[in-house]
Amino acid sequence: MTEHVVIVGAGTGGTVLANDLADRLEREIDAGDVEVTLYNDDPDHVYKPVWLYVPFGLREPEDGRRALSDLVDDRIDLRIDRITDLDSDAKELRTRDGAGTVRYDHLVLATGSTLAPETVPGLAEAGHDFYSEDGAEALREDLLAFEEGRVVLSVVGSPHMCPAAPLEFAFMVDDWFRKRGLRDDVEVVYTYPIQRVHGNPHIAEWAEPIMKERGIEVHTFVNAEEIDPDAETIETMEGDSIDYDLLVTIPPHAGVDLIAEAGLGDEGWVDVDSHTLEATAAEDVYALGDTADTGVPKAGSVAHYQAGVVAQRIASDVRGRPATATYDGKTLCFIETGMDEASFVEFDYETPPSPAPPSTALHWSKLSYNESYWLTARGLL
């Protein structure tokens, strides 16, 4: 009897996991004892961190795309299709294009984040973003032509992917205009929904003085009630009105509907044990990356480390051994602090982040990692 492992979603988490299992369970897969199927509805793998550089004219969206067929091990059964139904009691899935049901023995949900700008009136119409290919390209058109006025970076939704990215954009746009001799004509404004500039108090404590030193205007406790594209204002739940000439937002995020419909968690995030990554509401179901509601950032490094844990646990289970691998909350982020300097943080459930002093070396380390990411996706790095 062949054991069937199904992975839903081929972002960083799903792709790294598939390649890890292809290596770890090579013998069992070749013998026909295990089959691993990876579902994704896009034939490409997308590396989203590239989008931060698109508005500045430094990268193209296609730099962040590679065909999954080139990245995923041949031992993996790669299906370009979408899972539409999940019955975790019957251990069955239905797909958009396939007939009948798909049985699984082990299921991993790595469906990631989607943007939900429609939850705030006016946001889709008025706000640019760099959290999508289309958004980053549209922002590039306006940012490259922008020479005076108020650029407002507003974090509208949280949690969101890559919690460092709003800070990075604010620091980069400040430095970018400064280097071009336009900073005196451009106001840079940053808004955040809670009482500090970042969700993590240690990162907020580090970033706030840098923002003050750079003359970045900060508004906290800003939660957009609506955006008025005609008046070019953000009207907030706190009763304020913030003017903008160019609005860049981090839109609200949500997971896919499949998760809530299957009763595994709210808003598309699966309730999991934060160490084993097992779903709390179903047997033999894991979630990882953005999909797993662990409280750690929705970041590629998290998905990468979690994929290794889930691969070890599934391999142990397949071999009839106790699964002992656990996730400790490990998170790693580079944080651009300008166009040619960056900081770096590493933290976990027990150890808070302590941002490294910004340096050119860390900036080039970030760009180097972005280039070598494709080795990570292949399971080699």
Partner: protein
């Protein structure tokens, strides 16, 4: 025990969420309810005891009551 006349329109269970998850969940719930309706926020994060009143004051909403249970808090917030 909560006042018997507090009838929450919605209950947000943010237990297990790290900061600022509970506050953001509360803000999301307040966004979706009518004026004068009440959200009951369940949180086991002590930071919520300061985050939530600070935001409520800033936004003009009102913390009606805070209950302390064995392993979590229940905070009742009324939308202005």
């Amino acid at each position: 025990m909560p006042s018997p006349d507090i009838d929450p329109a919605t209950i947000v269970d943010a237990r297990g969420a790290s900061c600022p998850g509970p506050l953001m969940d509360l803000i999301g719930a307040i966004r979706g309810i009518d004026s004068e309706a009440v959200v009951k926020l369940l949180s086991d994060n002590e930071q919520s005891l300061t985050d939530v009143p600070e935001w409520a004051e800033e936004s003009g909403n009102e913390v009606l009551e805070v209950e302390g249970a064995e392993d979590h808090y229940a905070i009742y917030v009324q939308k202005a």
